[in-house]
């Protein structure tokens, strides 16, 4: 590997790339949870066997979530460009990328939350009913706390998936490590630079995954 291509300017760009990637990933994840968590909760509570059954609403919500999940991210990225311009004022840069990232990740997160909440023992929910808990108390004090370890593992998966999407947005000038990989590795044939950015992405994924696992395990009181 010829190290001379890693000029101070490039190193600085890579440094910024890391920061931008982390910013896009974490900010998008946060916003996607703001939408995905309530939707995931509603998917469970309005189901036929849920605490507030509302089958027609559940069917519509499930359909919308599936519809949005079936659009490939790279297509969605372009489809929502007008909306992105409306919200952020531009379609280039890391903040602009957050918009399609959130739209793409929210339904995915909703399904992850749904599956975590479904793992909660029906018997425990029945016990809460027998004590006179309201549906909101059951969600807030039973389902969410009992599902926390699973929700945390889910969020680690969400973060790493979104990280992958940020790299994809490099093709449309999304910023971050993805843009550096595309600009240097793809357009200028500097494979070494691409390799380094990929290695950095791998590293970031590893850190988030490991962190999620450890936090989840530390908070799980089920197995000792």
């Amino acid at each position: 590997m010829d190290l001379s291509i890693f000029t101070p300017e490039l190193l600085k760009a890579i440094g910024w790339g890391i920061i931008e990637t982390l910013y896009m990933t974490l900010f998008s994840t946060l916003l996607a949870y703001v939408i995905g968590l309530p939707v995931g909760i509603l998917l469970v509570t309005t189901a036929k066997d849920g605490v507030t059954p509302l089958p027609w609403f559940n069917a519509i919500l499930g359909f919308i979530v599936n519809l949005m999940r079936s659009i490939p991210f790279i297509i969605l990225l372009i489809l929502v460009l007008p909306f992105t311009r409306l919200v952020v004022g531009t379609t280039i840069g890391s903040t602009a990328t957050v918009v399609p990232l959130v739209i793409s990740a929210a339904p995915f997160i909703a399904r992850m939350v749904e599956s975590s909440l479904r793992e909660v023992d029906a018997g425990v929910i029945e016990a809460a009913h027998s004590m006179g808990a309201t549906p909101i108390q059951i969600v807030w004090k039973v389902m969410l706390p009992e599902a926390t370890p699973s929700l945390i593992i889910g969020s680690a998966i969400a973060v790493t998936t979104i990280l992958g999407y940020t790299a994809m947005s490099g093709f449309v000038g999304g910023g971050g490590l993805g843009t550096i990989a595309v600009n240097y590795g793809y357009y200028r044939y500097k494979t070494d630079v691409m390799l380094v950015t990929v290695l950095l992405l791998v590293l970031i994924v590893q850190v988030f995954q490991e962190l999620g696992m450890r936090i989840s395990l530390a908070g799980d009181k089920r197995a000792r």
Partner: protein, 344 residues
Amino acid sequence: MDSIIQRKNELIRIEGLGKTFTSKSGSVTALKNINLSIYSGEIFGIIGLSGAGKSTLVRCINFLERPTEGDVIFDGESLSSLTPAQLRIRRRSMGMIFQQFNLLMQRTALANITFPLEIAGVPKERALERARELLQIVGLADREKAYPSQLSGGQKQRIAIARALATEPKVLLCDEATSALDPTTTASILALIKDINRKLGITVIIITHEMSVIEEICSRVAIIDHSKIAEVGDVDEIFIRPKSEIARKLIFPEGPRETLFNGEHCVRIVFDGKSSFEPVIANLILECQTPVNILYANTKNVNGTALGQMLLQLPESESSRKRVLAYLTVKGIPFTEETIRQED
């Protein structure tokens, strides 16, 4: 042989209760025309084989399952007339424990007990105080910081009992509460329930498929079979004179062994506390001058009294049989004539 519990205070009245589950594949009737009265302060058993409908019945008592017919009158109030919010408040007067304990796995023992109090809006300090009191009652004061996964089955059920008692209920509903426990632990949990019933005056309803649980602590029992009540009455009375086929089957879970003998002219005799001291069979043979064949014998502890049952096959000769039956009548030993059929 009337029960000693006073029958004035009816706590729960189940009136013409029925439950039908309807699904796409058709409807299943789990309960049909159930009528029962449960009195304040008693330990009432509901027994049946699995699938008889007893778990549905206990869930209808606190309206976890809404009956499709009839009503439950709890403490003079019709549950079917309550709004969902009123029903939730009413449920605080009805504690419930389960076969699988159903504790919150991410909460400590102490936090599990404060849970129903949090829901009821009791101030935190007061809730903690009450929870510690209850830990004392169930004998786990030293395990308040333990998580359910660190406790044994019996300890988990003790925490569940404490949790069910937190809101000072009038009745404790036990749904197969000892079915997941070993015999020793079962005995200690039953002793605890009995203790709570005596000391706190809480009415207890016990759902089980084990006759031994009923014999151990219940004063009255309802036997449920094929969605209906087959028999209801005092435990000792039902034990001595079971009227229904299902009652006999439950009292003699070893029943199939009887089918080894294919005999007519059988009598089932019951020894109560008194006659257990007398050599009844020996005397009978000497008095009547006729041999009898003992097909089955068993002694059980029913509410602290030793009750024995024996299945005798009497001789072919009718005059000898009459002598035996007359002897039993004179001696005041309860008996029923039975024919043992070969079953499949």
